[in-house]
């Protein structure tokens, strides 16, 4: 299998899974959605592991940059979002007079934990990768 064929197979698999997920959400068949997601993960990882040498290095470099870019945008956004939702400014608002602001506060808490999880995950993966690709201090 060459790179072109590999990309075509990957794209077909992704489109097929997206269509199944879309249809199952419209039909409210949530079990089918879960099956489709797991099948997609298994199928794509199977295609990926069998064609590891076919992944273009330029594409890998783009993926790295895109991941870095996504993290540097997503982490502050979700962090600031959490902070804004946790500030009790909504309690005085007429719109939230019936106490609905509590839902926003819960959402803020979830966002705050997600931000922490994201930062911890990034730090842990950074630490392991730095250890894997770096030399030790006493190494000659």
């Amino acid at each position: 299998m060459n790179i072109k064929k590999y990309k075509q197979v990957r794209l077909t698999a992704v489109l097929f899974i997206i269509s199944i997920i879309t249809v199952s959400i419209f039909l409210k068949l949530y079990f089918l959605t879960i099956i489709a997601i797991f099948t997609g993960i298994i199928l794509l990882s199977f295609v990926h592991t069998n064609n590891k040498n076919l992944i273009d290095e330029r594409e890998l470099s783009i993926q790295e940059k895109a991941a870095d870019f996504t993290y540097s945008i997503f982490a502050p956004t979700i962090g600031i979002g959490a902070l804004l939702l946790l500030i009790p400014i909504h309690s005085g608002s007429v719109v939230f007079s019936n106490g609905e602001f509590l839902f926003l506060e819960s959402l803020g808490t979830i966002f705050a934990y997600l931000t922490l999880f994201l930062i911890v995950l990034y730090s842990v993966s950074y630490f392991f990768l730095a250890k894997k690709f770096g030399g030790k201090k006493d190494e000659k």
Partner: protein
């Protein structure tokens, strides 16, 4: 970094697609290297040089960055 990849490819009468297939990268990578938009890894640079049976520095020319 400058490179003479296009010159070597044309000399061998190869299309970008053919060269990409022979080296094992995508055509987009060859386009990006030829137009100096992507700097290949040392492995890929060696692969390219080996394919054309020349030294790396014959294809890739290092230019010191101006401060």
């Amino acid at each position: 970094m400058k490179n003479k990849l296009k010159i070597y490819r044309v000399t061998k009468n190869l299309t970008q697609e053919q060269l990409a297939d022979k080296i094992g990268v995508s055509r987009q990578t060859i386009i990006a290297i030829e137009s100096n938009r992507y700097l290949p890894s040392i492995t890929l640079a060696f692969k390219i040089a080996n394919f054309f049976k020349v030294n790396i520095e014959d294809i890739f020319i290092y230019q010191q960055e101006k401060n």
